[in-house]
Every structure is written in structure tokens, then in C-alpha cells.
């Protein structure tokens, strides 16, 4: 691994992060950092706490112990909203809106990356021609691609991707890798969870192995 640029604080850093549900430890204590231009691959078996870790980092759950720094500062809701884009298990798409209408709403909510348009993003994820298709008529893989288009449009530098490869065909897996690669080249960073069956994106990658607590 090449030496990291120390003049910038890591985009995301966690120290002593621990989370328990009903007194049952889910993960931790964990220490890790992700720099701009880097991907962190969170691996672990089903139930190892990968999703929970991402939800804690996104601020949807509160950690029991430990610190999360975003861009060198303690994570606050405002800081998180600016820095983090989260792709969860739920697609956050309205079934009765078209693909394009869904993207327009999510852009209105989260803001939009400069120079990117919803129509172009649909082309990038391979959904051109589906602009006016209702989300309910898309397949699971196509919905995932639509969520990826939303992610592509988000102005946040840090991507938290929960099982981004799920439901995707080989070409779709390549698409995720290409998107992550392009995002990292632009100075972003990404956390990806996977249970280990897929190829990782060809970028500077750190690994974090989650074990089910004994």
C-alpha cells in the first residue's frame, strides 16, 4: 500500500467503535480509517454486523462506544448529510413514480453533483430507454441500477454501499466497479460490504473482516 497523504485527515475514521443490540455485542471495538481515493471492503458472513456497521456510520443507528470522525471532525448530522451517500437494502424508490421522477425527487432532497443530470445518470447505469417506466415495472436488478444512478448524482464524497453487488448481473457488477473507480479517481471514498463472493473493484482497497462475536 503506498504511503497515504498525511496533509489531509482521512475522509472517515472510526476509533473503538462498538455496537450492541439488547446487550448482545454485534461488532467491535473496531478501528479503521478510509482516505480519499480509497475503498474499504467490509467482509463477513451473514449476520456478522456489516449492515449494522454501515447504518451506524451513516448515523441511522447510534454506536454504544467509540468515535466517528468525518473529514477530520467529529461526525454531526449536518456533516454527515454533506459527506455521506448511503445505499441500503431498501431501494428508497416509489413504485408509482417513473425512473426519472424518482431521480428528480432524490436529487431535490439530497442535492446534485455539479454537471450531472438525472437523464445522463440513467444512461451511465444502463437504463436509457427506461426513463418513463414506473419503478414497479423494473426488475430487482434494474431497481438496483436506478439506486446506483441516485448515488452517482449525489454530491457526497463518501459512499456507504451495503451489498452493492446483490441482484446484479456480471455486467452490473462491472458497472459498480467502474463507478467506484471513477468516484475514487475524483477524490471520493467508498465503503462496500460483501459476503465475499464477488470481485472487488480494481482500486486501492483496505479490508475489514467482521467476525461474529463469540
Amino acid at each position: 500500500m503506498p504511503p497515504t497523504d498525511t496533509s489531509h485527515p482521512p475522509l472517515l475514521a472510526a476509533r473503538g467503535l462498538r455496537f450492541a443490540r439488547n446487550e448482545q455485542p454485534v461488532f467491535g471495538p473496531l478501528d479503521f480509517a478510509v482516505d480519499a481515493g480509497e475503498a474499504l471492503l467490509v467482509q463477513g458472513a451473514n449476520g456478522a454486523g456489516k449492515t449494522t456497521l454501515l447504518r451506524v456510520l451513516a448515523g441511522l443507528l447510534r454506536a454504544d462506544e467509540g468515535h466517528i470522525d468525518v473529514d477530520g471532525q467529529p461526525a454531526s448530522p449536518a456533516l454527515r448529510a454533506r459527506a455521506i451517500a448511503y445505499l441500503g437494502h431498501l431501494p428508497a424508490l416509489k413504485a408509482d413514480l417513473t425512473a426519472l421522477e424518482n431521480l428528480h425527487f432524490l436529487c431535490g432532497l439530497h442535492g446534485r453533483r455539479r454537471g450531472q443530470l438525472p437523464g445522463n445518470a440513467l444512461g451511465i447505469v444502463g437504463l436509457s430507454g427506461y426513463e418513463d417506466t414506473l419503478a414497479r415495472q423494473l426488475s430487482a436488478g434494474q431497481k438496483k441500477r436506478l439506486s446506483l444512478a441516485r448515488l452517482w448524482l449525489a454530491p457526497a464524497p463518501l459512499w456507504l454501499l451495503d451489498e452493492p453487488y446483490a441482484n446484479l448481473d456480471l455486467e452490473g457488477i462491472n458497472l459498480v466497479n467502474r463507478m467506484v473507480q471513477a468516484h475514487l479517481r475524483d477524490g471520493g471514498a467508498a465503503l462496500l460490504t460483501t459476503h465475499g463472493a464477488y470481485a472487488a473493484p480494481p482500486v486501492r482497497t483496505r479490508m475489514l473482516q467482521l467476525e461474529r462475536p463469540a
Partner: protein
């Protein structure tokens, strides 16, 4: 930022409403049904109808609002939209307020517009109609805001039908008492403004506090 998020949410809700207009009409039809059945049941006695008309109209509005309450956040919770709202750069309470306002506009406002006709059906004396309209205009948004808190509290549960009603009713009772009471006072020649001002004060407080409470409840329910 806050305005563009609100605009996007309004556009989304109007589109969704139009795509599912059959479902959206349900609460209004329910209220209509209550009023019409009441009028038919008490058919031959205009005096008796006029006496209970304000209470019946208020109850129809309240029950229709209760019926629509479950749709306020449930759909957005199930498809993950609420998660994205929580991560948005605008306060969750602001989105909750906009969503509740849209919900009121689409469920209560059409009924409010139909109230003069329904009042005629129930032989409400014309002189009481303005007081009734003012009380409903102040009371129904208050009901929607209180309902938003209850809907947010139960959003994490799979089935919450009866629980929503049980939690909402104690909050709704004072609104109903003052709302229907103001019209009853006017009918007896008393000053209705005391009750109406109390409703207005309640609405002002709820406009500020209810979105905050509902947002906190959503965070807890989805955490």
C-alpha cells in the same frame, strides 16, 4: 436547500396522489358516507338534524382523518424513503412538516370544500356555517399534526391499525370538544371565539412542536 427539498417532496406527493387517485378518495368518500347515512337515518326531522349537524360533521372529518393516518409515513418507511430523509441535508422535522401539510391538503381540504354542501344536507342553520368552517379550518390541520406524531410513533410496527386509533383518540378529544363546542356555543347565541382562539393557539403550538416530536419518533422507530 430547504425550499428545493420541500418543492421536490410536494411534486412527488402530488404525482403519487394522481397515480393512485382511487385510494386517495377513500377518506373523503368515508366522510361523505357517514354524513349521508346520518341524514338518512334521522331523515324526517330537520330540527333534530340541525341540532346534531356540527357534531356529525366534525366526527366525519375526524374519522376520515384517522382513516388516512396510516398512509402518512408507512409507505415511505417500507420502501426505505424515510432512511434517505434522515440522511438528507435538510432537517427531518422539516420534511415531516411538509409531508403532513401535503397530507392535510389532499385529505382534509377537499372535505373542507364540500362542507357547505354537507351542512346543507344536515339542515345546519346558515348562520352557523361560518363558525363551523373556521373551526374546521383551524381544527383539521391540528388533527393532522397530532396524527403525524402518532403515525410516527407506530411507523416501526408492522400492523398498527387499532393502536393508531387508541393513541390518537385522547389527543383528538380536546380538539373535537372545542371544535364542535364552538359551533354549539354559536347555536345558543354565545360567543364562539373563546373556543376558536384556543384551537388557533393549539394549532400554533402544534405547528412548531409536532414535527419535532414526529421526527424524533421516526428516528427511534427506525433505529
Amino acid at each position: 436547500m430547504m425550499l428545493s427539498a420541500a418543492k421536490a417532496l410536494c411534486a412527488r406527493d402530488l404525482r403519487l396522489l394522481w397515480r393512485r387517485r382511487g385510494d386517495a378518495l377513500q377518506p373523503a368518500l368515508f366522510a361523505l358516507l357517514v354524513v349521508v347515512l346520518f341524514a338518512l337515518a334521522l331523515g324526517g326531522e330537520p330540527q333534530a338534524l340541525a341540532k346534531v349537524a356540527p357534531a356529525v360533521l366534525w366526527l366525519a372529518m375526524l374519522l376520515a382523518g384517522l382513516l388516512a393516518l396510516d398512509t402518512l409515513f408507512r409507505g415511505d418507511a417500507e420502501d426505505g424513503s424515510l432512511e434517505q430523509w434522515m440522511l438528507a441535508p435538510v432537517p427531518l422535522s422539516w420534511l415531516v412538516l411538509v409531508r403532513t401539510a401535503m397530507h392535510w391538503l389532499t385529505t382534509a381540504l377537499p372535505l373542507l370544500a364540500a362542507t357547505p354542501l354537507l351542512a346543507e344536507l344536515l339542515h345546519l342553520p346558515r348562520a352557523q356555517l361560518p363558525v363551523l368552517m373556521v373551526s374546521l379550518a383551524l381544527g383539521t390541520p391540528l388533527l393532522s399534526l397530532l396524527g403525524a406524531v402518532v403515525a410516527a410513533l407506530t411507523v416501526g410496527m408492522r400492523r398498527s391499525g387499532i393502536l393508531v386509533a387508541l393513541l390518537a383518540l385522547p389527543l383528538y378529544v380536546p380538539v373535537l370538544v372545542f371544535g364542535a363546542g364552538s359551533v354549539a356555543a354559536a347555536a345558543q347565541g354565545l360567543d364562539p371565539w373563546g373556543a376558536l382562539l384556543l384551537l388557533g393557539a393549539g394549532l400554533a403550538v402544534a405547528l412548531v412542536l409536532a414535527p419535532l416530536a414526529a421526527a424524533a419518533a421516526i428516528r427511534i422507530a427506525l433505529g
